[in-house]
Symmetry: C2
Subunit: 620 residues, 2 copies
């Protein structure tokens, strides 16, 4: 099928049937998967592939390629059938669906070069697509369209409406959402069943253009896509009424057929007209120069004087602004708290690369993933506490192999009066458990500035935790802080105990160390600014010498610094004695100093803990 | 002020000014807080308190009391000023705002008897209010109204639209949302600024009744509240145009005044007419009998035969249905996957206590919190992976002191072909770090049934992790499994190594133990079904005997079982050698058996690890 001309109804219908047949065959070969959810959207996919998508399958990196996101990732057999029709997946590979080692996973991931982002957690495709559409309009300045194919069930996710709001507000007319309204979710009927108008009304209220269409009428679908492309200043949502399991009478529109191979695949394939191979020459994107690489020099980082008191969040903002000057590929997102996270310092200098996401943390993270997929280096920030809102997006970003930096400010009880709702106390646990993540927690301004610059070059999700209040500068501006490193701030050959701290607790540990030194208990103090990966060598040396490690963290005792230290001895080697000081109480309002004392992570608590431990060891 | 009659314009205006004055004074005394966000909503609050709220402040437990949720929790000075006007907080206490030990925290928490749920993470008040309104209509059958006062910025949160959808669909005419549209967020103008119609359009599209009103015209506000109360079959959103900092010219409608005490509080109080004390006799709720306590017998739990193969998720559903028969206070929520989590087994027997939340995990958790606040015992379930979507709600639920049970099904790589997007691999880390949580991970059907019943009586957030595939029944139906316990499945006085497992890995550990026993390495096997709290005694005894512990978990190595075991030695005692086997790879699609092998948590990997460890210890 050549797409120099628009394919006719018969050709498109044939292609739709082929996609159904291949979806049925793939799921049958796998013994699992979602053929019925693929069949409802097959005509939508056929018209898109043969008539509208501009994509060079031989050059997935082509800068002007349209982007296609299968938000309803469980309909992966449909996507893989499209790849077969496009000639990049052969029949043999199609039938490896869901097998060990196959690229054709149960839900699409970027193991396939044509998949930008992993899907399978519903409600994420549209918000990520918004990020790509923002890139197309504001950064890449390229005419690619972003097509998102989603299901009707997933419109219940709030993240869809965060995205709808953002896209409408930003007039993203390069974004088209195709909703496969097949009436049936996993368990049964959706809330609105076949009421296309109910969905359309909602999108229009969010300033979208909408089209309601019979999703099995290929000419009507073709017209809808044209209408979307021709619509200026508004994103378009195409509400397509479809039938789940379309084409095979025994499963059409039937409950209880979600996520199962067809009972009789052979008969189904026959009913669908048998296997065929319509090969689609997908329209190539318009010629486009690969954009010039952005300037990428060494940033002139801010320099802070020893002893000066500066909040690490301020250093974050200042370093980020400097990084933005040196590197044109750095972009910044914030959740309407840029005056608190200090991302506003970047915004003031580089407004064209700053994305205000308002109080919509899921959309913020998803936009970062979309921007990263287009090659930009996103730095996204809000309060550490509110990053928990985007946990599922972080988890999926790791599966998407996204490369981005996330900053959580206002970490821990050290924020003071605002109370527990504003305190990030679970963020280290959350980020450490994200696959392939890096977790950094600086204690002073120069260290923060260096780490902000270092994270521009990493891989995966890099998390930077910052502090609300001012802390004294401990390190000179030329000190280096490699990711995976640690700093030994106090040491002698006579150290009896090792204190391991990060962020605010480093300062408490130093005060405690002075007090302990005076009373004849020399202690080693390690600033574990790199919480993941940790500097195993430094910790193991300290353990070998002192035999006792005390970790102190402004975080819950689960999954944070204490766990990071314990984990680096979890290879069967003899273990040091370990004590964890962490936030076990439920804080209320209080000054930062009162909070640290109440949580027993202040200098006095550290001192008392070390004394007790030392006496116990000496007398044991 | 007596509310036997409706207070007149002058009285209401006076009360509004008093609330402003008190908010200014409280924030001034604290040196922090949000007076300007309180001042915008002061007239809305005055009219509500004096004319519409039906609440017995002496009996916050009165079953027919209206519910008031301050979703914009940062405007706490306004709430506390209302409490002063209602006569339950005196002036002295008002001025303890944000001080250490004060009940008047920076953001409201249930330390105050009139606060049902903590707020301060925006966008949560409405979804929780939906839960309370559902309780009022479908469970309590009481005529209380639920009033939610929220800000305009927080309407950007997707959770608001999950709630709007749920409330519209369920015709919750006992729910009124009051939006304080004061134009300014924290950082600057909101997206829609003063465009009340933009918000109204959105709510109407979600099947709400809407009223647009000048939020400083007390008579118009009074009429809007009456209209809301008179509206049947639809929830009402009142979009109230207001001015941030209203009443003090120097801060009115000014950017940069968010979250700060007024620069000259004394002058501001004078401008507002000086301090006064209008005392409001809040209308009492209608007489209502405290509902009869629901039947609360011992459930007749399902009984499974030793060796039978049953998925723990199935046992969850069956036990829950039995629990629902024995206890009338148990209610169940599910995120449109009840056929997978098996919550549908409850739904079939007790449809009147089952809440389908569709694919909206934030709303599901929030509704559970709202139901719990009304005294019900909610069990909420979805795939473990998708609970990450509700992380912020779980965090806040702990601050709310909510008592509820959450179940995550399809845990770990053991799900097989569906791939990583569907695998809960971070859930143990997430739930363990929630303050006051309980984390349970059963390995067989009888254990699951017992734990389902046990969790009905706990406190805080109880998490139950279930498995997709069938696993053999290991325990008899009369075995008991106390929370905080562990089972020793293999032991001898000659054990060389201890294996600690939970869920699917228990079965792998038993196979490994048999192989190791045969090759002359007797090992102890502990089923750590209670991951938090852990049975420290059993672990410490095993450590004392064997000196080596190997943990095996179908979860990331951070924050899960390995951490739980390490943490119970973190009191400075001599440590055993520890090895963690956990999921370090990024899985693709594969069979459950292939997945376990690939992640190196299957019997063969355990066997090899124990052998290597044993040899290392023997030769060291």
């Amino acid at each position: 099928m050549k797409s120099a001309r628009t394919p006719d109804r018969t050709e498109l219908t044939e292609l739709g049937q082929q996609l159904r047949v291949d979806a049925v065959r793939a799921a049958d070969a796998a013994g699992s998967g979602h053929p019925t959810s693929s069949m409802s959207a097959a005509d939508l996919a056929a018209v898109l592939l043969a008539g509208h998508l501009r994509y060079d399958f031989e050059r997935p990196e082509h800068p002007a390629n349209d982007r296609l996101i299968l938000s309803k990732g469980h309909a992966s057999p449909l996507l893989y059938a499209m790849y077969r029709a496009a000639g990049v997946v052969d029949d043999e590979e199609l039938l490896t669906f869901r097998r060990h080692g196959s690229r054709l996973e149960g839900h699409p991931t970027p193991r396939l070069p044509w998949v930008d982002v992993a899907t399978g957690s519903l409600g994420q495709g549209l918000p990520v697509g918004v990020g790509m559409a923002l890139a197309g309009k504001h950064l890449d300045h390229l005419p690619y369209r972003v097509w998102v194919l989603c299901g009707d069930s997933e419109l219940a996710e709030g993240s869809i409406w965060e995205a709808a709001e953002h896209a409408g507000d930003q007039h993203l007319d390069n974004l088209t959402l195709i909703v496969d309204v097949n009436r049936l979710g996993q368990r049964g009927p959706t809330r609105h069943q076949r009421d296309l108008a109910a969905y359309a009304r909602r999108f229009r209220a969010f300033d979208w253009h909408t089209v309601e269409v019979d999703g099995h009428d290929v000419e009507a679908v073709d017209a809808a896509y044209r209408e979307a492309a021709a619509t200026a200043r508004r994103p378009t949502a195409i509400l397509a009424g479809t039938v789940k399991g379309k084409g095979v009478a025994s499963v059409e529109d039937r409950e209880g057929m979600h996520g199962k191979p067809l009972p009789d695949a052979e008969a189904a394939v026959t009913e669908l007209g048998g296997p065929r191979f319509v090969r689609v020459d997908v329209t190539a994107p318009p010629a486009a120069h690969t954009p010039e690489p952005a300037p990428s020099g060494r940033p002139e980082l801010p320099r802070y004087e020893l002893g000066e008191k500066v909040a690490t969040r301020t250093a974050y903002g200042q370093a980020l602004a400097a990084l933005g000057t040196a590197r044109g590929d750095v972009v910044v997102l914030d959740g309407e708290v840029g005056d608190s996270t200090k991302a506003e310092l970047f915004a003031k200098e580089h407004p064209e690369r700053y994305f205000e996401c308002y109080i919509a943390e899921q959309q913020m993270l998803a936009a970062a993933v979309g921007l990263a997929a287009r090659g930009w280096i996103p730095y996204a920030a809000t309060f550490a506490a509110f990053l928990t809102r985007a946990h599922d997006f972080l988890r999926m970003a790791a599966i998407s192999r996204a490369s981005l930096v996330v900053t959580g400010s206002h970490a821990g009880v050290a924020i003071g009066q605002d109370g527990p709702s504003q305190m990030g106390l679970e963020d280290l646990a959350m980020f450490r458990a994200v696959h392939g993540s890096t977790v950094l927690y600086p204690c002073d301004a120069n260290q923060t500035a260096r780490l902000v610059a270092a994270t521009a070059d990493g891989e995966g999700i890099r998390y930077l935790r910052t502090t609300r209040g001012d802390t004294p500068v401990l390190y000179g501006p030329d000190e280096e802080f490699p990711v995976g490193g640690a700093k030994v701030l106090r040491s002698s050959p006579h150290d009896k105990v090792t204190l391991v701290a990060a962020g605010v607790t480093v300062h408490e540990a130093l005060v405690a160390a002075d007090a302990l030194e005076e009373s004849g208990i020399p202690v080693r103090v390690i600033d574990l600014y790199s919480v993941k990966p940790v500097d195993e060598r430094v910790l193991q040396e300290a353990a070998a010498l002192t035999g006792c490690l005390v970790t102190v963290e402004d975080h819950r005792s689960q999954g944070g610094l204490g766990d990071a230290v314990a984990e680096c001895f979890a290879d069967g080697r003899p273990m040091p004695r370990l004590v964890r000081l962490a936030v076990e109480n439920m804080p209320g309002s209080a000054t930062p100093e009162e909070q640290l004392a109440e949580a027993a992570i202040d200098a006095a608590s550290i001192t008392a803990t070390v004394r007790a431990l030392y006496e116990r060891v000496v007398t044991s």
